[in-house]
């Protein structure tokens, strides 16, 4: 399945809770159905950010393991308003 990425975000340079805050702000800017790719660190971010994104009602498409030890999270924006 090919996934078209609409926006990229790197949160490897920040820590909780700014990791999720930045993800949330980026998702707010997107339209319903658009895809955000988030590059995040192993450990706390990869444990918490996907869960928080899911709690907000968005759809997690994939969590890819990158060669440099980071992850890429693909999220589909779900606008319930």
């Amino acid at each position: 399945m090919d996934i078209k990425i609409d926006e990229n975000l790197d949160i490897t340079d920040v820590v909780c809770p700014v990791t999720f805050v930045k993800t949330k702000v980026a998702l707010d800017e997107l339209d319903d159905g658009q895809i955000l790719a988030v590059r995040l660190n192993d450990g706390e971010p990869v444990q918490n950010v996907p869960r928080s994104v899911k709690e907000e009602g968005h759809q997690i498409l994939k969590l890819l393991h990158n060669d440099d030890g980071t992850y890429t999270l693909l999220v589909k924006k779900v606008d319930d308003e």
Partner: protein
């Protein structure tokens, strides 16, 4: 408008909330709120709205800071004694959050000044201490179709309600006229616990924030009362009145006017106007 990294961190606890988010925080940053009275109620209101990043906050009060104010007016410090309350409040608010524009009005809010004063604001907050001001604020807000929060505190008690045009009764629907002079003591005569301003003023700040972000239920058509001694909150449903003199079907009040302020309420040198003789 994009957030700076500093703003993302400053407002992170708001943005994390589903009901606020980035959109809600932008609404707060674009919001304009006027606080009338920089005293017991106005102090916590101004502190929380500034911290929350409400973009433009007006604050109106004629008085200067007095030693007897400091027991409850937590936005002022001992070093501020003698300074205009609006100036002292502005300095504290900008020290907390430089994002916020603070407009100061060192005036006595009366029928001549109130219409211009409230015009540019989205939401008005009554933090005054006398019935004349409370009815004046109500009438002006009804006439200009401005939402506002009313509150009053005295001794161990407090109350508040919110008016939104077309969505419930106004203050005059409920209380009609000021009580006879001396029927109810002022805070200066009766006293008030300082934390009461914190409890009720914080609830008013919460109403302003909910109004700006457009989430939750406001205290429209409801009076919330608080008794600190029994630790009871009561929410009383308020009926609207079709024959209300200002918001009814055939209003007799078509412009704001001033009630006479009882002599003991008139501002003595350095004294304050912040508490309500309400309950």
């Amino acid at each position: 408008m994009a957030f700076t990294n500093e703003q993302l961190e400053r407002y992170s606890r708001h943005i994390l909330l589903k009901e606020v988010g980035a959109k809600g925080q932008k609404k707060l940053l674009n919001g304009k709120v006027l606080i009338i009275g920089a005293g017991g109620l106005g102090a916590p209101i101004a502190l929380y709205l500034a911290a929350a990043g409400v973009g433009a906050i007006g604050i109106a009060d004629l008085d200067t800071v007095d030693l007897s104010n400091l027991q409850r007016q937590v936005i002022h410090t001992t070093a501020d004694i003698g300074k205009a309350k609006v100036q002292s409040a502005k300095e504290t608010m900008q020290a907390i959050n430089p994002d916020v524009q603070v407009n100061t009005y060192q005036i006595y809010v009366n029928a001549a000044s109130i219409m211009d004063l409230i015009q540019d604001y989205d939401f008005i907050i009554d933090g005054t201490d006398n019935f004349a001001a409370k009815f004046l604020i109500n009438d002006a807000c009804v006439l200009q179709k401005k939402p506002f929060s009313h509150a009053g505190i005295l001794r161990f008690g407090g109350q508040l309600m919110t008016y939104v045009p077309g969505e419930g009764p106004c203050y005059r629907c409920v209380f009609r006229e000021p009580p006879p002079p001396d029927a109810i003591p002022t805070c200066r005569q009766a006293g008030v616990v300082g934390a009461m301003g914190g409890v009720i003023g914080s609830l008013q700040a919460m109403e302003a924030i909910k109004f700006l972000i457009g989430k939750g239920d406001l205290l429209t058509g409801k009076l919330l009362t608080y008794d600190a001694l029994t630790m009871e909150f009561r929410r009383i449903k308020l009926p609207g009145r079709k024959d209300c003199a200002v918001c009814g079907e055939h209003p007799s009040i078509t412009e704001p006017f001033d009630y006479e302020v009882p002599a003991c309420d008139l501002k003595a040198e350095g004294e304050s106007h912040e508490n309500s003789p309400e309950l």
